[in-house]
Symmetry: D2
Subunit: 509 residues, 4 copies
């Protein structure tokens, strides 16, 4: 409604009430103005109604929603199912143009505006998370893995000689596959144990020698990772960045769910400040609690970001952008920083509680101080309690036992304490829980020993649990209770007969 | 509700009424059974309520919706904005696993089921459209351009020597960029005029000699296109397929919006039957009227389709899959074939009407019999009416005039009738209408003369208009009226003063 | 968004696109302006998006939606379930104040505006339906029956001596109960057969003598009815109105679903013009296809309408008002008059088709020319086909047979052709179909012979079917097919064994 | 989905995942079973998804949603606006039959089930609130005022001699109008000051003598009220009930928002146990935080409840019933009792804080210990601070000042400390804030001195603020801050010049 409408309404009800309405309208208007001028997370999270109102306005700017519009192109944003149309608020043109996925669309002014606003908000969120060096970003409707591939492909257009990616090992499949998907060759640099802890960290010297071996010119980029399952810790981004600068090799960071952790953010920030970082990629779902499907490419300068969005051939789904837009507006700056702070405190609290429960069960939490998201318990005492190797295998039962207790996400990792202990090249059966490690696995032609453990040999079998953004203490407490019950069951011999199949106890029982 | 619930309800109201309810419930149940067993488009389109009910059921199978679920992984499908959660029906885990984007997710049984069902429905829809040779498909959350890139990347893993894509020219940017994005080199084969018509068609001999020149082994694939703006016509898929088989070169078809046209579908079908087709890619939005963001890779055999989904690194957005699922269920088989039939009849009707209106305006429709979607009017008489070259430029005003009359999608193409007539390498200014042709354009390093016209020289300037799926006769009639008015204005000298800027008349006036 | 916002957006994307958005925004704005100034059904039905936008704006004017509002009253529009809040668009304050249910609420400017606008729209719709004499109306969140009670109670405050309601018999229960609920005494005036037809019409002389017998001063009002099941026809409103004026007795019309029928509307219009009509009440659900729950009290002058809304003690649900508002905006004037016209034509068409089908079955349609909504078939030949009275009872099986074929709404009426044929005072068992007539029924102390037939004796048993607003020809055709099948089954002896119970065939079989 | 569907799905994805789905499905199923068998508030509040699923199931049992249903009645639940249909979940038939508004509808089995379930849930909620004597209830789609009228009308059918309602004065308009609307005569019994406090309470002797004066037979009922603005306190329900039993006069309690207060609930409970209570009526919106529009008639025996629902002529809106159903399911028993407990504690806390703030401002909280919802501050010192009577009038400015600070709901009551001080019979101008007292007001012919103060004379002017269910401490704290600021402004002379008009400061400034 426009100011003149309020005057018209004064003939319908008491003008004082209309005046109230106009003033309420102004409150919303001020939010709009603040967003359009400041282009950063609002000082207070928006109410759903205000977000909805803005989306409705924006949708009305797209040609498919114009009154009396006639379309004689091949793509006119027509949507035949009203259920589908509604869930997209009428924003049906997707994002981008054939030349650039972040570009404006002539037919879709509203969608185009939303894309630009989302970029600003995302950049602000990244800075608030601690990476103030971020100067440009693109929000892509592709999850972290594919986005990494796109970054590699874009780099390749800029550095056609580059064919190797020097990669600090992390046993997360899509991360590694992203290299092969781009038609590139990975050079895997194994991790090193960090003295005085149970942690695994970056082998800086290994990286340097890998680069020197093939020659820096042939290296497309170095690829490091921040967020990771313990006992791996974030790569030493700062030091790698310095080396990258020295060797004049691009450096891309997989910051998948690192935005939620001040430790990871600090590493990226320092890397950008002191050395070379060409881009860092983060998941929208894992950091901002939206559905899977988007990632943000950010960088200390716009060059590579623009190259990535310019490389993208054609239009793309708007859905992940929209989800992020809605979420960032509804959180506002305090909502976002509050979530970050809460997670940090929860993680600290959880680690302590996990220690207490572990002690009670005769187990211990592995010492991995640099990983502030994921925590491990050494399960070996459980395996050893009777008679050796086969029992270690049986530890997988713990995973099943937790799953049937409606715990999702823990991983049981079976490790070989010395080389050659297991050489089967098999995929773990498609199962309802993740059991990792022990076996060799070949991905895109590269074999990995003890896949899942980030290393060929690790001295113990363990269970990991993460305290991620959005997890509540109530939830983590429930996990600890269920873990205790599962270990107790395990000790009582549960599952030994049914070992070969899927866990038998009914879900939720 | 389960059968036993109905018995419980009999104590609450008249048992006869409960019985009615149970019988109504059975109707819905039968639809579910039919879908799960037949896995094809339903005989009657589903009501929105039934679709919603199925989605709600499926969502309840994903762990994030389990009652009492506790998540200790790094990705647990948490969604913080309820508005976002609702618009995805609680389906927040996306699709795929790190190893395969079409694979099942342990944490998301419901989402996984929806993905598989959507593949079956999509395959059925492709067959109903006339491509019975289709035996496998994947529905990807990437639009046609990026999906083409993914197909090229997958082919490359199977054929590492291949570095060229032999490509029959079509002036649609994302299509061409898809090649460069994959790090491949395009070999552009120019089109040939088709005798006795105004059409431009495939230069088969040109393709063959291009392949022979670099050697078939170095050719990753031939890339042809079906749907296109007139006066280009669909590539001679059938003949290219035979040649591809003979030369043992893979053949990928860009069938962007060809599924909606029996002519295009027939060409693909024949190609598959008689020669070699490795995959054909079609847009979900352009064929099925869903929001932009998805494409279907289909093929006569599963090999390349599986390779593409196995190449995809990591998970992806479920949104485009979901939109297609909802739409196909709501259409049902008769809805889908009805739309195809209606479009076919509308296109015929429109071509006639366009002829009549053109005659009235002293213009003529170009003779491009093999293009059944897009139609052209020769605008040269308008340009010539006064004094030559500069006037041709002024034809762009027609585009603006249509745009201000709320017509989206028409293209005015300015052509150079002979070589060298224009050599500026500029991008048309980011404008609200598409004006194509005349100028040279360099994409990913390759220069194209007269970009937008599919050819370096074309004897006349023209305007294109498409009769796409979902367009109604009422809408097309409105277009013809507005076209007539715009041409009339043009003849009366409108816009001559304001030529340099954007059209001044207010939108919708 | 306000005009200044568009300027701010020009820094974000191409100003031309922003301009497009602003112009699209103007289209919506014009609709708002038209509604607020003209206050009648729009010339074109509004799109859902525009309606939603207006509702969202209005909701933001209610204090419960004010940003930062603090409530220290006992009723602050707080809604704890978000699902509930959403379905009411945040409009939670209901309508009215303690003094008047149509009055403005200080806390709810938006809701108040919606109430006033709905009244204007409803009045316009009544006029477009043919009752141009309507000068005032109130939309009440009470269905027809209770609204009639409220009208009687209001009249009573104006005419405290009145204790009788002179009522032209119509066998529709809530209509009669409305009198007793108001604490008044009904005087039932039986109908008279209309010569040359099978119809039952108003006994004008009977009414006059009833009034004279108790004295006009003691008569609160005359109550007539327009819409009714055949063979009853609309009361002779015009003649009753003249008599009401002459005798100075108020006259209230139950126009339940009469707005949909030009015949009924014309009678009310003529009554208002020529005689005395104090108010006429119509259902919102039966005329405007909204959910059950609202009625409109309209009148040729505001007096009684205001009295009714002023009588209503306290606030009330906004839901029925909101449903009507949305519906009238989405229909617009052409949508509403189109529905009326379509129903009229459908009814004519249906009557003919019903005649044809009846003939084929050896039955006939009763001659009731003045009822243009409801139609009857004489079922007696079916009852007589074997051996007499008991067979007439068995005609009820036809109702069951239709119900199991998913036909809702037909009535089988069993009549006694002469006095005393049946005297049981029983309620028909709570059944899934309506079987009427034959039995005596006592409502609020008043006995009715042959209840359901509008008369004590009627020469035949019959089945009624209505062609109401919103029914499609396809639906009516399906009815005729199912009727034919049911009668055929009946003739073949179906149901004779299972007569006592509910029909056994499964629903939908 | 039915058990057999899960088997069918096992061919589509890993059977283990399907099994997970089936188990998740069972969790929902168990909730359904518990609801249908126990028919009371669930032990844990339902998730929105589960509620939605149940509503969708129920809606599918109504004939209008049957697949292939054909309607030939005059009311078939057709809804033309999809927006309207959706917001009612397809439940369009309303509630009740012509004979009884709580009765089952043959055409709407699902709606009928929802009505019955809601009655059970509401009864359970009433008992949990402390009125265990409640044995029957009806949830009516009419707010408290009209519901009281309906109770009076029903009582009248049972007690035709009764024409007076003996009513303990409460200055809440709809409550009093409910009597007149039913065509009854009120006998107003003035309140009495309660010694040792500032409170006003029931004049038991006054009631008895009022009854004796007209004769108990002519008294339709006694009407008492629990929830009320201070300084009035709840009527002495227990003692009145004993007297009602003794005198054999029906007793109806207006328990408008008393369900939220254990004090009020206890009074009703005691009344039912020790004396006579025929029915007690409570608002759904004021107690359960749903939109305005419903009330619950409850009683220690079913007689009057059934009479009320049997009196109701015809069908009615389902909306208020549906809102209550959704809300009660989502709250569950702990949610509901938690809200009650929280309010109790908040009220105690608020009273203390109000005392502190008042002291600071040189004011005092009136001593009204028996009112646990509403609190008063004596404003007289502010009025007296300068020079007398006119200043008391100016106290109304405080209301405006609070309103412009976005405080809704406080009341400023101007009282006459002795008879005859003000005799104007005017309505306070329809204003954005409530200013009460001082003036005489005539409602339905009965004059009230000093309307708004519950008494003809009260020794001071005061401001009331309530701590109602759903109000948060944060909100109440904001009120106290704004109150302090407003009083400070007042003391500084604000508003003295603009006194005559509406407050000038902009809302929210």
């Amino acid at each position: 409604m426009l100011p003149q409408h309020f005057d018209l309404l004064k003939g319908l009800v008491n003008p004082n009430y209309v005046e109230q309405g106009a003033q309420a309208r102004n409150s919303r208007s001020k939010h709009f103005t603040a967003l359009f001028t400041q282009r950063r997370l609002p000082d207070v999270g928006w109410k759903e109604d205000d977000i909805q109102a803005l989306l409705d306005e924006m949708a009305s700017f797209d040609t498919n929603n114009f009154e009396g519009n006639v379309g004689v192109g091949e793509r006119e944003g027509r949507v035949i199912s009203d259920l589908v149309r509604r869930r997209h608020f009428g924003l049906t043109h997707g994002i981008g143009r054939s030349g650039d996925v972040m570009a404006e669309q002539p037919k879709a002014a509203g969608s185009s505006l939303l894309v630009q606003l989302t970029r600003y908000l995302a950049l602000d969120a990244i800075r608030l998370a601690g990476i103030k060096a971020a100067k440009a970003c693109a929000v892509l409707p592709a999850a972290t893995g594919l986005t990494m591939t796109l970054v590699f492909l874009a780099l390749r257009q800029m550095r056609p000689e580059g064919k190797y990616v020097v990669w600090s090992r992390i046993d997360q499949k899509s991360c590694f596959k992203a290299i092969g998907a781009a038609g590139l060759k990975p050079i895997v640099v194994e991790l090193k144990p960090i003295e005085g802890t149970d942690a695994l960290g970056t082998d800086l010297e290994g990286m340097r020698s890998a680069i020197e071996q093939v020659g820096a010119d042939e290296v497309l980029c170095i690829c490091t990772t921040t967020s990771t399952f313990a006992p791996r810790v974030p790569d030493f981004i700062d030091e790698v960045a310095v080396m990258a600068q020295e060797l004049q090799v691009p450096h891309v960071i997989n910051n998948a769910y690192g935005l939620q952790c001040s430790k990871c953010a600090h590493l990226v920030e320092t890397g950008c400040r002191r050395g070379r970082v060409d881009a860092f990629v983060q998941s929208t779902d894992k950091n901002f609690m939206v559905p899977v499907g988007g990632a943000i490419v950010a960088a200390p300068s716009a060059a590579l970001v623009d190259k990535v969005s310019g490389l993208y051939p054609g239009r793309a789904s708007m859905s992940p952008v929209l989800d992020l837009f809605i979420t960032l507006l509804s959180l506002g700056a305090p909502g976002w920083t509050g979530l970050l702070q809460e997670r940090k405190e929860n993680a600290k609290w959880f680690e302590e509680r996990l220690g207490t429960v572990s002690s009670k069960l005769g187990l211990r939490v592995l010492k991995v101080p640099a990983n502030r998201i994921s925590f491990c318990i050494d399960l070996s005492p459980l395996g050893r309690s009777t008679d050796g190797a086969e029992d270690m295998d049986h530890l997988t039962f713990l995973g099943s036992a937790l799953f049937t207790r409606r715990v999702s996400g823990p991983r049981v990792v079976l490790c070989t304490p010395k080389p050659g202990a297991a050489t089967l090249d098999v995929e773990t059966p498609a199962d309802t829980i993740k059991v990792k490690g022990k076996y060799q696995k070949v991905i895109d032609g590269t074999p990995f020993e003890c896949y899942g453990a980030h290393t060929n040999f690790y001295p113990c079998c363990y269970l990991t649990a993460a305290c991620a953004i959005g997890a509540s203490r109530k939830e983590m407490d429930a996990f600890l209770e269920r873990l205790e019950a599962a270990v107790q069951d395990y000790k009582n011999g549960a599952g030994r007969k049914e070992k070969s199949g899927i866990a038998k106890p009914a879900l939720g029982s």
